[in-house]
């Protein structure tokens, strides 16, 4: 196989009434790593699903080595050596890693029987051949995310795929896992395979890809050699008319006001895994302040989220809201108590996939939308339509949440949690994780305008750029304890924060007071 050409591809989704692809074209050559980049909803994934035989094209042509082909199923594409690793992995729990790899193409014993052992041996042989080192006997549900991704890649290699399409491969990986993924990809490229990665992270494109194609609103708007294009030019090309503003000026927050949220020597000793999760955290967050809390995953950020969400109880110490006890999540609708909460797990905790946008929108404020216990359908529709307009969400109130792109789901959650009247306290957990630049920009604007209106904002994020862009004060957690508290000024650098997050350097505390006091 030398080249794959997709030309003038159109794809219309009648259910949402949108053109996912409009005159999209793409040219892939053998032995290259080709990045397909674009904002959420730009049509990257749809175009690649067409190439992998998961969607049929409405019009346009697909040619492999100049011969026109048409795929009716992923199996057709697989026959020609094209396979896809999905954003959400398809490993089967209860099966071992090895069984997952050879699933459907198991070696047959006596031409008929399928055995666990022979499957795992075949998988082990494939791993040796391609230089992977996962334990083939390990149960799929015990694999780390990175390992599961490798299993997905091995599935394709085992089936002799020449063209591997990876959808947002780095979105769930840690920094180290990303590096090992990239070295795997480079090795596969050296063997002459073609790799396509779908992404919206410009930095990674520069790092790994040879060629990059930019998509916007369903069409391909440009194709570049990665070495000849700057990160800024790529961002600009992705966003079209939108302006990239970069870091923004930051106002000093208001001193001397009673803290909205107060952590009093908060500890959480036995989490789900029986270990000490949070150690003696004392902190205050005042009105009009954004307190950014950052940590490497596994260092207490998610426990802190669950505590703030009222889903866990501290084993000692206390949380105070406006001087009183912190409301338990299930005691009353939070919105009326003045707390907005954007969970980091937006698909499971933040929204309900099988329900409509309108139903998701009214879910927290049931007292308003069910006066006397009966649904006020008109009010629900109006309120959600207003939110859709205000937050420019690409959806109708009647769309199911699983029809929306990830960015639009997050906008829906932001609309529900941060709409007027402004909450006294906002708990924002990874608010822009996986969002494209325009949606991120939009979310930042909302968050900053809430601060102007006097909300106290707790921002839990593992994205240092986000913390440094938004926060007035930065708190670093390491192994569940506060490792540093500092004003977000010129002295703060990524390197400094990174060192603290890794537990290096002395514990730092804030020297001058801003916002609520630091106990």
């Amino acid at each position: 196989m030398k080249s794959i050409v997709l030309e003038n591809i159109d794809k219309f989704f009648p259910s949402s009434g949108t053109w996912a692809n409009r005159k999209a074209s793409l040219r892939l050559s053998a032995g290259e790593i080709h990045a397909v980049i674009g904002e959420n909803g730009a049509g990257k994934t749809t175009l690649m699903r067409i190439l992998a035989g998961l969607e049929t094209l409405d019009s346009g042509s697909l040619r492999i080595d100049s011969l026109p082909v048409s795929f009716r199923s992923p199996a057709d594409a697989m026959k020609l050596g094209i396979g896809m690793v999905h954003q959400h992995f398809l490993t089967i729990p209860g099966f071992s890693a090895g069984e997952n790899i050879v699933f459907g193409e198991e070696p047959r014993v006596c031409g008929f029987f399928v055995g666990r052992k022979s499957s795992e041996e075949a998988a082990a042989a494939a791993m040796r051949r391609f230089g992977f080192s996962i334990d083939p006997v390990k149960a799929a549900e015990l694999l780390t995310v990175g390992e599961r991704q490798q299993v997905e890649i091995l599935k394709l290699l085992y089936r002799d795929c020449e063209v591997l399409i990876l959808d947002e491969p780095t979105s769930v990986l840690t920094e180290q896992e990303i590096q090992s993924l990239f070295s795997i990809l480079r090795r596969l490229k050296a063997e002459g395979r073609t790799i396509v990665i779908i992404t919206h992270k410009v930095k990674e494109v520069k790092e790994i890809a040879d060629v990059v194609s930019v998509m916007r609103e369903g069409a391909t708007v440009g194709s570049f050699k990665t070495s000849e294009v700057s990160e800024f030019a790529l961002s600009a090309s992705m966003m079209g008319k939108a302006v990239f503003r970069g870091h923004r000026p930051r106002a000093l927050s208001l001193p001397g006001i009673e803290p909205v949220l107060k952590f009093e020597a908060l500890s959480l000793r036995s989490g789900h895994r029986g270990a000490a999760r949070l150690e003696n955290i004392s902190l205050s967050v005042g009105a009009g302040e954004i307190c950014g809390i950052c940590a490497i995953s596994g260092n207490g950020l998610s426990e802190l989220e669950d505590l703030l969400a009222g889903m866990l109880k501290p084993s000692s110490g206390a949380l105070r809201f406006l001087g009183g006890t912190y409301p338990r999540l299930r005691s009353a609708p939070w919105k009326s108590r003045g707390i907005g909460y954007v969970p980091s797990d937006r698909m499971k905790r933040g929204s309900c996939a099988g329900k409509t946008v309108a139903e998701n929108f009214i879910a927290l404020d049931r007292a308003t939308f069910f006066p006397k216990g009966i649904l006020d359908a008109e009010a629900a529709k109006t309120a959600s339509a207003d939110a859709i307009r205000e937050f420019s969400i690409k959806a109708n109130p009647g769309n199911y949440v699983d029809e929306l792109s990830g960015g639009n789901v997050q906008k829906m959650i932001l609309a529900r949690e941060l709409s007027d009247p402004p909450p006294r306290l906002c708990i924002l957990c990874e608010p822009t994780w996986g969002l494209d630049a325009a949606s991120t920009e939009f979310a930042y604007d909302r968050i900053l305008s809430l601060r102007e209106k006097g909300s106290a904002i707790v921002l839990l994020s593992s994205d240092l750029d986000e913390i440094m862009t938004l926060a007035d004060r930065i708190v670093v957690l390491h192994k569940g304890a506060v490792k540093g508290v500092m004003a977000n000024d010129q002295d703060v650098t990524r390197e400094k924060l990174g060192a603290l997050m890794l537990g290096l350097g002395a514990t730092q505390t804030l020297t001058r007071s801003i916002g609520g006091s630091n106990d």
Partner: protein
């Protein structure tokens, strides 16, 4: 989503076609008079008012109990105790009616139905309570409780409440004046069908238009989201199970007032299970329960008509029903799988 709906629609049609085809195949295999048996199976149930009326009468408990199943399913609870709840409801209704022989019919009917719903509801609530307080799987506990209840009712029917004047294992019959009015003679179709239709309409309204229904469905669709939204998920284990049991009990009382007038040993003969099939066909939509129950009753009465009118033996009826149940269950497997216990799901 729309594509999914369309796909599910296709699956449903394929299931129905497969059910009919398998019935034909079984008749072809076991009947000497294929054409005659085919007529008995597909046409005879609709051919005269007696059969047609009885077919509609048999829809009554299926719709009401089906709604009970649907309420449990929608909140992600599994009530497998329908059989016992129907039986207990029927006994409670009969007892009340027997204790008040001289009272006005409407009063007796209302009181009996309330007693039946209470009996079924208590049994359902028992399983709901066990799940809420102790984390006992409601699927197992409702099934086991039902098995126990069936034996208890059997004991009552054949022991203390046995009709001394009858050779059958049955209680005394309720006063004829208190039974539901017949509307389609000579069949047993009574005003119970209107009760069933009203119950299904009410069920639709509760599910789609009320806060209770909304919260119940949120708990079923995504427990973590419901929790995050401040809904007490324990409440939506207890109440749907109780409501489910109550509707099953009510179905039992409707059978008594509409068709049976007395509790005979084993008279509910699988209605509780059939109601699960009906609810699965209807995808828990209260209004869709009506055509689903009609379809199920149609196949059921066709099977019985073949059994009585031709050389096909009674086992075939059971086999046809089993095949239909199997096909429906298989077609709804993704839904049923959603009930598989999840790690760290409950609090």
């Amino acid at each position: 989503m729309i594509e999914q709906e369309r796909k599910r629609g296709k699956v449903l049609i394929a299931t129905i076609a497969a059910a009919i085809a398998s019935a034909c195949l079984l008749i072809l295999l076991f009947s000497k008079d294929f054409a005659g048996s085919l007529y008995l199976f597909f046409i005879a149930p609709l051919a005269n008012s007696y059969y047609l009326g009885n077919l509609m009468a048999s829809m009554v408990p299926l719709i009401v109990a089906g709604l009970g199943v649907a309420f449990a399913f929608e909140s992600r609870n599994f009530n497998l105790g329908g059989e016992g709840q129907i039986y207990a409801g029927a006994l409670a209704a009969t007892l009340v009616a027997l204790l008040l022989p001289e009272s006005p019919a409407l009063g007796v009917q209302l009181l009996s139905c309330a007693a039946a719903a209470a009996a079924g509801g208590l049994i359902g609530a028992f399983s709901g309570m066990l799940k809420r307080r102790l984390g006992v799987d409601e699927l197992i506990s409702s099934f086991l409780a039902s098995s126990l209840i069936v034996l208890l009712v059997d004991y009552m029917v054949t022991g203390p409440l046995q009709d001394p004047a009858s050779n059958f294992q049955t209680t005394r019959a309720i006063a004829p004046a208190t039974a539901f009015a017949k509307i389609f003679l000579p069949s047993s179709l009574s005003i119970g069908i209107f009760v069933a239709l009203i119950v299904s309409l009410a069920g639709k309204a509760v599910m789609d238009k009320t806060r209770f229904g909304f919260e119940l469905k949120l708990c079923g669709a995504n427990g973590e989201f419901a929790h995050y939204a401040g809904i007490d998920s324990g409440r939506y284990t207890l109440i749907p199970m109780a409501l489910s049991g109550a509707l099953h009990g009510l179905a039992g009382s409707l059978m008594i007032f509409g068709s049976y007038y007395r509790v005979m040993r084993g008279f509910s003969s699988g209605i509780g299970w059939s109601a699960i099939a009906v609810s699965l066909i209807a995808k828990n939509n209260p209004l869709a329960l009506i055509p689903a129950a009609a379809f199920y009753s149609y196949l059921d009465s066709g099977a019985k008509s073949v059994m009585m009118g031709s050389d096909v033996s009674s086992e075939i009826v059971a086999i046809v029903q089993a095949v239909i149940f199997l096909l429906i269950t298989a077609s709804r497997l993704p839904f049923i799988k959603a009930f598989a216990p999840k790690k760290g799901g409950s609090e």
